[in-house]
């Protein structure tokens, strides 16, 4: 275990640990040329152990006897020798001792290692098999991940006899945590302690991933150099990535000695191709672990890895199911709000927060915000949304460090550390945002601080210190957003967009429908315009002809009847004209521009006075504003209101008509008041209806469409029209127009 390989020995990560140029002394190494199997490289101790003057350039069969009657040439010609060391057999060189021969190929080299076998082994193969089977049974008995982890470290301690066995797990940021431990108290406990990622340099991590088992049997060993044949061309350094005898970094050995561990072994837990964790074994005394036991440990670790993978997949599936259920909850509440998805989202606060495991969430749509939980204030949320709209080119943005992603958030007091954002609309900056708190405040520190291990003079390598370093590292960071969470966010985004699009489609359908009916209406009024007016014209025309040509034959009554026929037809014609005008007014486009109402009302007053010749009318027209509106439509409004005022004051000998304007922050209001016959407020709502009349035709003529026009024009301008009055006490008609945006 190369942790904690110091946080401040910066040279570490550049150390060529794959090509140390030496091996550990509990064996020897040969590199053979192919196909003649001559020695091109050898560890410096090879000649002495083999009792040959020099092994170089000799064929291996020349100095090593066959294994079980099989020549080395035959053994090494096996195609199955790959980069994982393969046992070829036990050899007993003339120099004494027994060695396990292991061969592997890597980087074009055939590497033959001879590892000294233990004089006595605690385990025989069948026992190893029994231990492994027992471990499998223990795992099957429980689906609790921590039980499996505990069982693994206990089993490995039993197999290896090390004083302490630890299981480390690396998180997404490569920070490590001790999650299981088995020991005999000769070495301090590390359970629950965390170590920053820097503790294990990247190239060491990669080596752990490739070669899962590594043994250092004595920290005090003296490395044996690997020496090339004097006749060899410069072959470059030998890559020992997969070698079992590889010598380790002197810095690490020094660290081990300081930590009071003479022997260490590590077994990688590799899960789906990534280094999930490490099982680290430490011993106060030098300790050898035979190859078969190491293989059994690797087996345990791999079984554990499978177990972990199963648990992780189950947890992921569970999380996914949970997320899906949360998503459907959110979709349900959104569906309840029709087009307003944002209201639906924030309605189910719990689901919204849980969805991204967040402490706060916000929906920002067109400068408007809705929030749940702890979030930055509205102003900041809008700023964040604007920034994302401008710079974000991804539909789903997640960060565990908001201040790095959006530097301006540094100024936000108590700014959340992490954020997830999904973009709903690019057209109008719309986002759903989630915020996560800082990790240090949310992670439960398995503190029960055991006594930190004391290593005099080695404070810098102290795990406790490492934790402090870890805290420094994660300050300002939230828990990361996992790929499953990102997927869920993308899914939710699609669903929301689906809702938005469906709404848009429905609107488009509606608008197509409207357009069609508008077209139909247009066609209708076009034909009304042409065809409906004609018969009235004919009635008028022919009754006129009749009156002219049959004049002498007609009685006075006949002529009166003819006149009524003509008048009625003419009125009907006018009604048609007015109706068409009313309908046209609803269909034509508004041509808005600044309109001076003083001018408009002056013209309307002149027009109205044409019908009031000889009458005394006092006009009080105040100063009127200039508004943004369609001039001809406003002219029609003014004309209608003033001619009404003139009409309904006809019975007054002293008519007074007052026009004045008022202003609020958002609108202009213009009212026309008269002292005429007024109306009953009970019918106020009928005033603005088409063909609604308040008075008998013979009292006050008119088609009853004027005020309907007024109201329609106001509606089209986003304004309103209303009336107040009392019978015989005059009437006041007011319209309001919204102020245009600056």
């Amino acid at each position: 275990m190369e942790f904690p390989q110091t946080v401040d020995t910066t040279g570490c990560e550049h150390e060529p640990i794959r090509i140390p140029g030496s091996i550990q002394p509990h064996g020897f190494l040969l590199v053979l040329s192919e196909p003649d199997f001559r020695v091109t490289l050898a560890s410096a101790n090879a000649a002495a152990i083999l009792e040959v003057p020099s092994p170089y350039d000799r064929s291996i069969d020349d100095f090593l006897p066959p294994v079980n009657g099989v020549s080395w040439r035959a053994l090494l010609s096996q195609a199955s020798i790959g980069n994982s060391p393969q046992q070829l057999g036990i050899v007993g060189p003339t120099g004494g001792g027994e060695y396990l021969a292991l061969a592997h190929r890597h980087a074009g080299k055939l590497i033959l290692e001879f590892e000294r076998t233990a004089a006595t082994s605690d385990f025989r193969l069948e026992q190893l098999h029994a231990e492994s089977t027992e471990f499998l049974a223990a795992l099957q008995a429980s689906d609790d991940a921590s039980v499996a982890q505990d069982a693994a470290v206990r089993k490995i301690r039993k197999l290896t006899g090390f004083d302490r066995v630890l299981l480390y797990q690396f998180d997404e940021d490569q920070h490590g945590t001790t999650i299981a431990e088995s020991g005999n108290d000769l070495l301090p406990g590390y359970l629950g302690l965390r170590f920053p990622a820097d503790d294990i340099p990247a190239q060491a991590r990669e080596l752990y991933r490739l070669n899962r088992v590594r043994l250092i049997l004595d920290a005090n060993y003296i490395p044996v150099p690997i020496v090339p044949s004097p006749n060899a061309n410069d072959e470059g350094p030998l890559d020992l990535t997969y070698a079992v005898l590889r010598s380790v970094s002197p810095v690490h050995l020094e660290y081990m000695r300081n930590m009071g561990t003479a022997a260490s072994m590590s077994i990688s837990v590799v899960n789906r191709g990534r280094l999930w964790g490490l099982i680290a074994c430490h011993h106060t005394e030098p300790r050898f672990v035979p190859f078969a036991v190491r293989a059994a440990c690797d087996f345990v670790a791999q079984i554990l890895s499978l177990q972990i993978e199963t648990h992780e997949r189950a947890a992921e599936a569970e999380r996914r199911v949970k997320l899906r259920s949360l998503e459907s909850q959110l979709l349900t509440s959104m569906a309840g709000h029709g087009t307003d998805y944002s209201a639906g989202l924030v309605e189910n606060k719990q689901a919204l927060l849980e969805f991204a495991d967040a402490s706060g969430a916000a929906v920002v749509v067109d400068q408007k915000t809705l929030t749940v939980g702890r979030t930055p204030d509205e102003h900041q949320l809008i700023r964040i949304a604007e920034h994302l709209a401008k710079h974000g080119n991804s539909d789903v943005v997640t960060t565990d460090c908001l201040t790095t992603e959006l530097p301006f958030t540094r100024d936000i007091p108590q700014c959340p550390a992490g954020m997830a954002a999904i973009s709903i609309s690019k057209l109008h900056p719309s986002f759903v945002l989630w915020f996560r708190d800082e990790k240090t405040t949310t992670v439960h520190w398995a503190g029960d601080p055991r006594k930190p291990p004391r290593v005099p003079g080695q404070e810098r390598l102290h795990p406790r210190k490492s934790f402090e370093v870890w805290k420094e590292t994660v300050r300002g960071h939230s828990a990361r957003f996992t790929s499953a969470e990102r997927e869920a966010l993308a899914d939710l985004r699609n669903s929301i967009i689906g809702i938005v699009l469906r709404t848009a489609e429905e609107n488009a359908d509606l608008s197509a429908e409207l357009q069609r009916s508008n077209k139909e209406l247009e066609a209708f009024s076009y034909s009304v315009s042409h065809d409906l007016r004609a018969p009235f014209r004919h009635i008028v025309g022919y009754s006129e002809l009749l009156r002219e040509r049959a004049a002498e034959r007609l009685t006075d009554d006949d002529r009166r009847h003819l006149q009524i026929i003509a008048d009625s037809a003419e009125t009907a014609g006018q009604l048609v004209d007015n109706l068409l005008a009313y309908s046209r007014m609803g269909r034509t486009k508004l041509a808005k521009r600044p309109v001076n109402l003083n001018e408009v009302f002056r013209i309307a007053q002149t027009d109205a006075m044409l019908d009031a010749r000889g009458r005394r009318i006092t006009w009080n027209i105040g100063d009127l504003p200039t508004v943004e509106a369609d001039p001809s439509m406003l002219q029609s409004v003014a004309h209608n209101l003033l001619s009404n005022a003139v009409k309904f004051t006809r019975t007054r000998s002293d008519a007074v008509i007052t026009v004045r304007a008022q202003e609020t922050p958002h609108e202009y209001m213009v009212s026309v008041r008269d002292n005429g016959v007024g109306f009953d407020m009970a019918y106020a709502d009928k005033l603005f209806g088409v063909f609604q009349r308040m008075h008998r035709m013979e009292d006050f003529e008119g088609t009853g469409i004027g005020l309907a026009n007024v109201q329609r024009i106001m509606a089209r301008h986003g304004g309103r029209a209303w009336a107040q009055g009392a019978v015989d006490c005059g009437a006041e008609f007011t319209f309001s127009l919204p102020k245009s945006k600056p």
């Binding site: 009024s525 007016r533 008028v540």
Partner: protein
């Protein structure tokens, strides 16, 4: 006796409107003949001396009073044909219609109509409109060159 004044071409499909218009024109004491066409094709036949009108003497009418809603070719199409015919393009055309629809007005002016008159419902107004139209276009308006007889004084003896 042949009328030396150029005729007025009235294009109107509705017999009642036709009668009322003729009454109105008669009341205005115009000396011009009034030729009637009952649809767009007939109007163009007359103007281009085709169909039933191949035998008519050469010369354009003083004015065309053209209804918009017509069988076969409508008023707008007739107007378009007139304006794209080199012999007819400067012929005065007055649209005489029931329609107050903006699109008709815009289309007509875009195609170079000389006047656009909405037939009033009231009879006296109607008479007045027709009379002033007839007077203006048939008598007062200077006909374009190429017309048979621009002025009474210049009328050759037959």
């Amino acid at each position: 006796m042949t009328n030396l004044l150029k005729p007025i071409l009235l294009v109107e499909d509705n017999p009642k409107d036709l009668e009322l218009t003729l009454v109105a024109l008669a009341k205005s004491n115009l000396a011009n003949d009034v030729v009637t066409a009952r649809d767009g094709v007939e109007a163009l036949d007359y103007l281009m001396r085709r169909g039933n009108w191949t035998e008519r003497p050469q010369g354009n009418p003083a004015v065309v009073l053209l209804d918009l809603k017509l069988p076969k070719l409508d008023g707008i199409q007739v107007l378009k044909a007139i304006r794209s015919d080199s012999a007819l393009q400067s012929l005065p055309v007055v649209i005489l219609t029931s329609s107050r629809e903006e699109q008709d007005l815009i289309n007509s002016y875009r195609l170079g109509v000389n006047a656009y008159v909405v037939k009033p419902v009231g009879f006296p107004d109607f008479i007045e409109a027709i009379q002033s139209l007839g007077m203006f276009w048939a008598v007062l308006n200077e006909p374009p060159p190429g017309s048979v007889k621009p002025r009474f004084a210049d009328a050759p003896a037959s």
